[in-house]
């Protein structure tokens, strides 16, 4: 069974690679990155092994090791979503003994770059104890235990929380809850970092404490054995084993629920009042597309994510720089995010896009509709943000350039996105999927197109940006007025051009985009 599942995972990987060259590139980049990281870590471990300070070695191992285990448990939940390649739900119909399924899924979880790096690093960490043979043995046991904790823990957390994550309402709330700390990671890390400097003397103490937690226990095993403290070593082995057993139990229970419970249905069915936005937009094709898009902006967590992020931009800047001029930057950046929100609009439609393809509409209709939805949300939000950041900095003399420039950026980004989303589609989380699940191998294509798009927008906005910077630095009212007028005029021009060019792209490529997306399904 184990061999079967590992082979299945490898086959999935191989077939995925066969489907697109992007996946190959993605894997190679990931492999290089992973190998680079592994080499760095291995060199670090060897360096740790040849130096004489055992205390330092223990501290580094415990801190790093704990972080590694914790990462395995939490990161898949937040960053990648649940590993969908071996979704237990897919094994429902086969009668596989539970023990084999657990073992198979666990081992298969190691297949992949993170698993490879983890195993390499865990095994190499043993070299630190080369001076004490008994500790080497303990280190090996600890390393195996740590790897098991990593894999089983990640399966347990993802499987146990999957029903929760799959529930639409919960997911939407989770999106907010998870996005906020992720988005504010920078300032939080900054605060932690500066905190660390002052407490770096206490690192060994922290490490010792971590050794008694499930994350650190397997790594602490060798430390204690090397120090000749057998009783604590036994205790730590016990902690590790008990944790592993507990995780296995949680995973097993969660798996049972996933396999027998079938699809989790929500209790009350989601209802909506009336026709919603369809009543409020003009009854034209453009109005209909706008109403549909706006409904999705507010009802689909994949869009709602962007809506939630934007108000956090000023918060981020407030954290980083306080009430300085740099805070003003957050208004155009928020506007940029709003405009960028429709850059993968067609990809987000997935195959539902056929509704547009089958309808007798020109590309510009589709493009304007989506752009209108982005602007209908983005324009008021941009105005509000501009006023708020100006109020916070107290520079009311700059309100004109800030508002004008931000609106210009919004229009420019919306125009550029209108073009881009009709030009390329790449796999994105499908409707109803975890917004954080990254479809296999899509990252590279997505990243290239996003980076190119962003660079394009920055380039287009360069003249306005130059004016805006000059206006803010000099504080000249005339420059400010000029900035506002030029930004809005240029933004409007780029918006119209983007929609027109996107419309031409749509007219020539819409069925092909649909075909591409059918391939993703």
């Amino acid at each position: 069974m184990v061999a079967h599942l590992v082979r299945l995972k490898l086959a999935l990987l191989r077939n995925g690679l066969r489907r697109s060259v992007w996946q190959v590139i993605g894997l190679v980049v990931g492999l290089l990155y992973g190998l680079g990281l592994a080499v760095l870590l291995l060199v670090g471990l060897v360096a740790l092994a040849v130096q004489d300070d055992q205390e330092l070695a223990a501290t580094v191992l415990l801190l790093g090791g704990s972080l590694l285990v914790l990462g395995w448990w939490i990161v898949p939940l937040v960053a990648f979503g649940v590993d969908a390649t071996l979704d237990p739900q897919r094994f429902t119909t086969f009668s596989i003994p539970r023990r084999s399924l657990l073992a198979g899924l666990a081992i298969a979880g190691l297949v992949g770059i993170p698993g490879l790096v983890t195993v390499l690093v865990a095994l190499t960490s043993v070299t630190v104890w080369w001076r004490t043979p008994a500790a080497v043995v303990a280190g090996l046991v600890g390393a195996v235990l740590a790897v098991a904790l990593c894999v089983v823990g990640s399966r347990a957390t993802t499987t146990a929380l999957a029903p929760l994550v799959m529930r639409r309402k919960v997911r939407e709330v989770a999106t907010i809850a998870v996005l906020i700390p992720m988005f504010l990671l920078g300032p939080i890390m900054g605060a932690v970092g500066s905190g660390l400097e002052s407490i770096s003397d206490t690192f060994p103490e922290v490490a010792r404490t971590l050794g008694w937690t499930p994350f650190g226990a397997p790594w602490a095993l060798a430390v204690d054995v090397a120090a000749g403290q057998w009783a604590p070593a036994a205790a730590k082995l016990a902690i590790g084993l008990v944790t592993l057993a507990a995780l296995l139990w949680v995973w097993d229970r969660a798996l049972t629920r996933a396999l027998t419970g079938g699809e989790q249905r929500e209790g009350p069915r989601a209802k909506a009042r009336g026709l919603g936005w369809f009543d409020r937009f003009p009854a034209t094709p453009v109005g209909a597309v706008a109403a549909r898009s706006l409904t999705y902006w507010l009802r689909d967590p994949r869009y709602a994510g962007a809506v939630i992020l934007v108000p956090l931009v000023p918060v981020l800047f407030l954290f980083l720089g306080g009430r300085q001029l740099s805070l003003l930057l957050s208004a155009p950046i928020g506007a940029l995010l709003f405009g960028w929100g429709i850059a993968a609009d067609i990809a987000y439609d997935s195959t539902a896009f056929w509704t547009h393809v089958a309808a007798p509409i020109r590309g510009t209709v589709d493009r304007w509709g989506r752009a209108c939805a982005a602007l209908a949300l983005g324009a008021p939000a941009t105005l509000l943000m501009s006023v708020v950041v100006v109020a916070l900095t107290g520079r009311w003399d700059l309100i004109v350039p800030v508002v004008g420039y931000s609106l210009g950026v919004l229009a420019t980004a919306t125009g550029a996105s209108s073009f881009i989303s009709a030009r390329v589609v790449y796999p994105v989380p499908k409707p109803g999927e975890n917004p954080f699940s990254t479809p296999q191998g899509s990252q590279t294509a997505a990243m290239v197109s996003q980076m190119a798009g962003m660079a394009g927008i920055l380039l287009l906005a360069l003249p306005s940006t130059a004016l805006a910077v000059a206006a803010v630095l000099t504080g000249s009212m005339w420059l400010g007025l000029l900035t506002a007028v030029a930004s809005i005029a240029l933004g409007g021009l780029f918006l119209v051009l983007g929609v027109r060019m996107g419309g031409v792209q749509y007219d020539t490529r819409a069925p092909d985009l649909l075909t591409t997306m059918r391939g993703f399904a």
Binding site: R168, E266, R269, A270, K271, A272, R273, G274, L275, G276, F278, A283, T284, P285, G287, A288, V289, A291, R292, T295, Y296, R299, D300, D349, S350, T351, A352, W354, T355, H356, V357, A358, A359, P360, I361, R362, P431, G432, D507, P511, D512, L514, T515, R518
Partner: protein, 290 residues
């Protein structure tokens, strides 16, 4: 608003009636039923489609006369969905031409698509909309005005027994309900030609009967329906024309009576397509051992 008067006996969309046709269609002035002079409702000329190294459709020629109820049958993977996707502008053919009422669909997609109502298979819907919103959306995209859309949406939801779920998100619908709401989207703009890929799949018998009635009266009033199905019985009873497709080729096409040539459509189909494995296959399945 005339059609909403018959609330209990849901009126099917009236296909060629010039008043309800939102299309300024000068090329086809006659809205009457099939006459020799009227161009075919749908004509596929030498359609080819290759996916990678697999040829899905290998030169299909098919003429669907205006006013016919046309069945498209074939085994799984025969190329039905691929052909219908190309016939409705959803999939670009590698070679060949699609004529909708004499209009070259791929030369002028906007014009051609305004004549078509489409129900594709195996694709998503905008399922974060309610059923009512989705049908409204389809209607508005086809250029209907607000009042017409509202009246027709109400009619269709009633006819398809979806009124109670009109304000439920489509994502919560069952497979059969999803099929029905997609069908409503396909006919809300009263197209002249309806192309339905597996319209009865997962639909309960009562709804299926309702749908059949709607389609039959639509054809009686001059509309054209093309359905794909692999339920031979249904096609034999419902359709007046049929084409048998296998391996991307048309094996037989014409009126149902011509094609079945005295036999039942199912027997004729098996005879045409082949691949019936008779004999003692799966002998182990008879034993209750293992």
């Amino acid at each position: 608003m005339t059609e909403s008067s018959a609330a209990h006996e849901p009126a099917p969309p009236q296909p060629p009636a010039p008043v309800s046709a939102p299309v300024p269609d000068a090329a086809a002035p006659t809205g009457l039923a099939a006459q020799p002079a009227v161009p075919a409702a749908l004509e596929l000329r030498g359609l080819w489609k290759k996916f990678g190294s697999k040829i899905a459709v290998a030169g299909i020629d098919l003429t669907v006369p205006a006013g016919s109820f046309y069945g498209l049958v074939g085994p799984n993977g025969a190329g039905k969905t691929t052909s219908l996707s190309m016939a409705t502008g959803l999939l670009r053919p590698d070679f060949g031409q699609v004529m909708v009422l004499g209009q070259d669909l791929w030369a002028d997609p906007v014009k051609g698509k305004s004549l078509l109502g489409v129900l594709p298979d195996g694709v998503r819907l905008f399922d974060r909309l309610t059923g009512e919103q989705l049908v409204t959306y389809a209607g508005l995209l086809h250029g209907l005005d607000r009042e017409t859309v509202a009246a027709r949406t109400a009619d269709l939801l009633a006819a398809l027994d979806l009124t109670a779920d009109a304000r439920t998100l489509v994502v919560e619908y069952s497979a059969g309900m999803t099929k029905k709401i997609a069908l409503a989207c396909a006919i809300v703009h009263a197209p002249r030609v309806l192309v339905l890929d597996e319209p009865f799949e997962a639909v309960d018998p009562v709804s299926a009967a309702n749908i059949r009635e709607i389609l039959t009266s639509y054809v009686a009033s001059g509309g054209t329906v093309i359905v794909s199905s692999h339920v031979m019985d249904l096609v034999q009873r419902m359709c007046d024309h049929v084409a048998v497709i296998a391996n991307g080729h048309v094996l037989a096409a014409g009126t149902v009576d011509d094609v079945r040539a005295g036999a039942s459509l199912e027997d004729r189909f098996v005879q045409l397509v082949g691949g019936r494995s008779t004999g003692e296959g799966l002998a182990w399945l008879r034993t209750s051992s293992v």
